[in-house]
């Protein structure tokens, strides 16, 4: 089975499954400047997933941002600053809180769930959930279709590649890239989940290599059409040399942001870059409230 076949079947599964979105206003999170909704929609399985949707008050169309889910049980609602400037869609993939019935993800545990078979690997369904969210965002009438971005870990690369309608892609912190190599040099979770699996399964090493290769962003980057920035670290598994195969795989060389690891500085830089791509004003989260 090739990666092309694997991902084509994901698309076919999604296409067969009606989305059937439902919106409910969340007054607690809404103000006179934006409205926040609880969005439920159906992904492959079928599975009912959840997303926060925030829309600025006004006519629009507005630039939009899709936030790729983090690896963890909780994603915060969209940040205040982003609600003011963008339509923001923040999906919870299956297993995360608010999308945890009937399936509640375990941490540790999620990363290896079904990993012995790529078709049963939970990450296949998680990527499908993210693609479903993208599909929803593309057709919102108050979204400017020429100004849509996706940001997050390198999960965002898969989204941007599989649904190449994004103007901008922000990869703040790659972790799926060469993950099968990276996990062998650490005992820190979540990568240690993979090591636990390899220790306890006779053919674990082979299964990990076979399945994880399908999710390496390097295999997807050639299909990215968005203007891209990638965060470059200073560690063994996030430095320029380590990331070179990924960086070289994009059809257009991405901008490389050398991280300072001063979170406020880095966050402001990425915010300004994205705002520039989407025609919005930069806003610092730290300065969101006057002191």
């Amino acid at each position: 089975m090739t990666g092309v076949d694997f991902w084509r079947r994901v698309d076919e599964d999604l296409a067969r499954q009606p989305m059937r979105p439902a919106l409910e206003l969340m007054p607690r999170h809404s103000t006179g400047e934006f409205s926040v909704y609880a969005l439920s929609l159906t992904s492959v399985g079928p599975y009912r997933m959840f997303a926060y949707l925030s829309i600025p008050r006004g006519e629009g169309p507005f630039p939009a941002v899709l936030e790729a889910p983090r690896y963890g049980s909780v994603n915060n609602p969209p940040h205040w600053n982003d609600r003011l400037r963008y339509v923001v869609l923040t999906p919870m993939h299956r297993g995360q809180r608010l999308a945890d019935q009937p399936f509640a993800a375990e941490y540790p545990g999620l990363m290896t769930q079904g990993i012995e078979d790529p078709d049963r690997y939970v990450m296949r369904a998680i990527v499908a959930d993210c693609l479903r969210a993208a599909e929803y965002l593309f057709f919102l009438d108050r979204v400017d279709p020429a100004r849509i971005a996706v940001r997050g870990t390198d999960l965002a690369v898969l989204i941007a590649a599989r649904r190449p309608r994004f103007r901008a892609l922000v990869v703040e912190a790659p972790y799926l890239h060469r993950i099968d190599e990276a996990r062998q040099a650490t005992d820190a979770y979540p990568l240690e989940e993979l090591n636990d699996y390899a220790r306890c399964h006779a053919d674990g090493e082979a299964a990990l290599a076979r399945t994880l290769a399908l999710f390496d962003p390097t295999a997807h980057a050639p299909d990215v059409t968005a203007t891209t920035v990638v965060g470059i670290g200073d560690g063994h598994h996030d430095n320029r040399e380590w990331l070179a195969p990924l960086l070289d795989a994009f059809p257009t060389p991405p901008e490389e942001r050398v991280l300072t690891f001063r979170g406020g500085v880095d966050a402001d830089w990425f915010d300004a870059w994205l705002a520039g791509q989407l025609g919005a004003a930069p806003m610092s989260r730290f300065s969101a409230v006057a002191r």
Binding site: L98, R199, F261, R291
Partner: protein, 313 residues
């Protein structure tokens, strides 16, 4: 205020309720009256040649079963007794299995207080939700039980025969920092050293005024919906504010924070530091956010904890 500037400090404050100490004496007594019933389940699939991994469960106040990940060095590699380390999680984070700390020689317990996965069967206010759950009533406020889950987790650690009860450390960032402050204060007889990063739940009411980031944004949202609750909210959170626990801490404590932290405003961490009357060290990372300089501080934290336990027998 721009990154690099961490003044003024004077904005942060909270009144210490006159019955603060007696309130917590009563809560601790109620929590301690519940049999701990600690159970340890080996997890061979998570264990390594260096570290044994277990899942710990114990009963806390309100008769809730609470979970934790517990790691010890392999007895055949490193003989006990081991220094004990309680690691508390951040607000939206799940506790990580603390193998790396056991490789350094600790019996390490990573807590999953109520509402966290594996401890949420009967109490699950969600995220957002936990911070404002019953926030107008100190007797049922979420953090009353949450703090006691940490307190009783330390009891569970102290009950382990392989742990040296004279060598106990606490460590955490953000909400983990808040819980570490509470443990160092309420268990000042036991906790010998603490490390607190980007401390949360310090100057709670002022912190919410200084940010639009979660989790403090939960308070702003709550008060937009219930402006008439403000006084009762302030009365409640005063009992749970780290600034009011700080004076009870006597062990050496390291506080680290970032000058551009939008989640836990740096002014609040500085206010905590100012209120500490214990051997203390402050590391301020210019331009750092809620990471609080963690990228560079791994060795500093490990050394501070080890130094704090040195000499304890």
């Amino acid at each position: 205020m721009q990154p690099g500037s961490i003044s003024p400090r004077a904005k942060i404050g909270v009144e210490r309720p006159a019955d603060f100490d007696s309130y917590w004496r009563d809560v601790v007594a109620a929590a301690s009256a519940v049999p701990l019933d600690a159970t340890l389940t080996p997890l061979p699939d998570r264990s390594t040649p260096d570290v044994d991994v277990y899942e710990l469960h114990y009963t806390s106040i309100d008769n809730l079963r609470i979970a934790g990940w517990y790691c010890t060095p392999r007895q055949e590699r490193v003989a006990g007794p081991y220094p004990g380390l309680v690691i508390s999680p951040g607000y939206i984070s799940e506790p990580l299995i603390p193998k790396s700390w056991s490789r350094l020689g600790y019996a390490a317990l990573a807590l999953a207080p109520r509402g966290k996965l594996r401890s949420n069967a009967r109490f699950n206010p969600g995220y957002p939700g936990l911070l404002v759950h019953n926030i107008v009533d100190r007797d049922t406020y979420s953090y009353r039980g949450f703090y006691m889950d940490a307190y009783r987790g330390l009891d569970a650690l102290l009950g382990r025969p392989e742990v040296n009860p004279a060598r106990i450390a606490v460590y955490g960032s953000s909400q983990g920092g808040a819980l570490s402050i509470v443990l160092a204060a309420l268990r000042s007889d036991v906790v010998k050293v603490a490390v607190v990063g980007a401390p949360y739940l310090c100057g709670i009411r002022d912190a919410a005024r200084l940010t639009h980031s979660y989790p403090y944004e939960e308070i702003n949202e709550y008060l937009r919906a219930h402006p008439d609750h403000e006084q009762r909210l302030e009365e409640t959170v005063a009992y749970f504010d780290g600034l009011n626990f700080a004076p009870s801490i006597s062990c050496p404590i390291l506080v680290h924070l970032g000058t551009a932290d939008d989640v836990c405003p740096p002014e609040t961490g500085l206010a905590l530091y100012d209120r500490l009357d214990a051997p203390k060290r402050l590391v301020v990372s210019d331009g750092s956010g809620h990471d609080a300089g963690a990228h560079w501080l791994g060795d500093v934290v490990a050394r501070f904890l080890a130094d704090g336990l040195r000499g304890e027998r």
